[in-house]
Amino acid sequence: MKGMTVIVKKTTQLIAGMVFLYGMYVIVHGHLTPGGGFAGGVIMAGSFILLILAFGSDFMHLTKEESGTTMYENLATLVVIFLAASGLLLGTRIFFLNWFPKGTLGQLVSAGMLPLYNVFVGIEVASSILTIFLALVIFKEEISE
């Protein structure tokens, strides 16, 4: 039988979506509560790790050639560097310029560009952790001596 017992499978089906949503909450509220891009990204990757542990790796239809996670990772890193360089486009000479309006302290929409940095760093970290997990655990049989 693939995977673990019926109890673990059913509970995982109920909980995995909740874990993913909690990771998004940690990322989006990174400038109000502890957490931020890194911790939320790893929790988002944790929901997929939970599904792979409970069901086995066949149910997600992963192909062995390319899983596509590295693409998201590189794209997110490029977006972070572009956001950092966007101060140069406005004519100033400052890297990492925070040119958005600040908003009021303590509200959800505030702190200028910091939530955008948080979101893209979160996407990058989630895809890179998932790539390391897949490479070390699943595609290990590909190595032939």
Binding site: G17, M24, Q107, V109
Partner: protein, 161 residues
């Protein structure tokens, strides 16, 4: 239909976590719930129409009180066995037949058994549950089946099936 159900559940969870109703919070929560329902609906349970029938919630609340009472009895029982100087334990693994059919009901039954007096579910094979018991009270299958699953099975049948 399943997509709408997952969306509504996700939005309720988001609002419980943040606990403030403003316009930016609702917009961000809706976007997050749409992403969550687009990714995770494939892995959710199949039959969601049962969530719309209100009498199941009535039985669920009664079941909750029964369950909390059993749970407190479980802890006092274990505390007695731990603190007694002679440690009156008599462990063993017994086999119990269940009449529930669906997988979700069996999962809820197994989780309930895990929290009640001195029992932990080890495995489910076919119709039989294998249970580790800290003090085997009798050798007769009929008696211990009624002792272990008797309190929960009728409520779970009314809640889920």
């Amino acid at each position: 239909m399943r997509y709408v159900t997952v969306f509504i559940l996700s939005l309720i969870f988001w609002l419980l976590l943040t606990f403030r109703i403003t316009l930016p919070n609702l917009i961000v929560g809706s976007v997050a719930s749409i992403i969550c329902s687009a990714v995770f609906t494939r892995f959710f349970i199949k039959n969601v129409y049962k969530l719309l029938q209100p009498h199941r919630y009535y039985w669920f609340i009664i079941y909750l009180f029964v369950f909390i009472w059993e749970c407190i009895k479980a802890n006092i029982d274990v505390a007695y066995r731990v603190l007694h100087p002679a440690m009156p334990i008599r462990p063993g693994i017994v086999k119990v037949r269940t009449t529930l059919k669906s997988d979700l009901a069996r999962t809820l039954l197994a989780n309930s058994i895990t929290m009640t007096p001195g029992t932990i579910t080890i495995d489910i094979i076919g119709d039989y549950l294998y249970i580790h018991w800290i003090y085997v009270r009798s050798e007769d299958p009929e008696i211990y089946t009624r002792m272990i699953t008797g309190a929960f099975e009728k409520y779970i049948k009314k809640i889920i099936e």
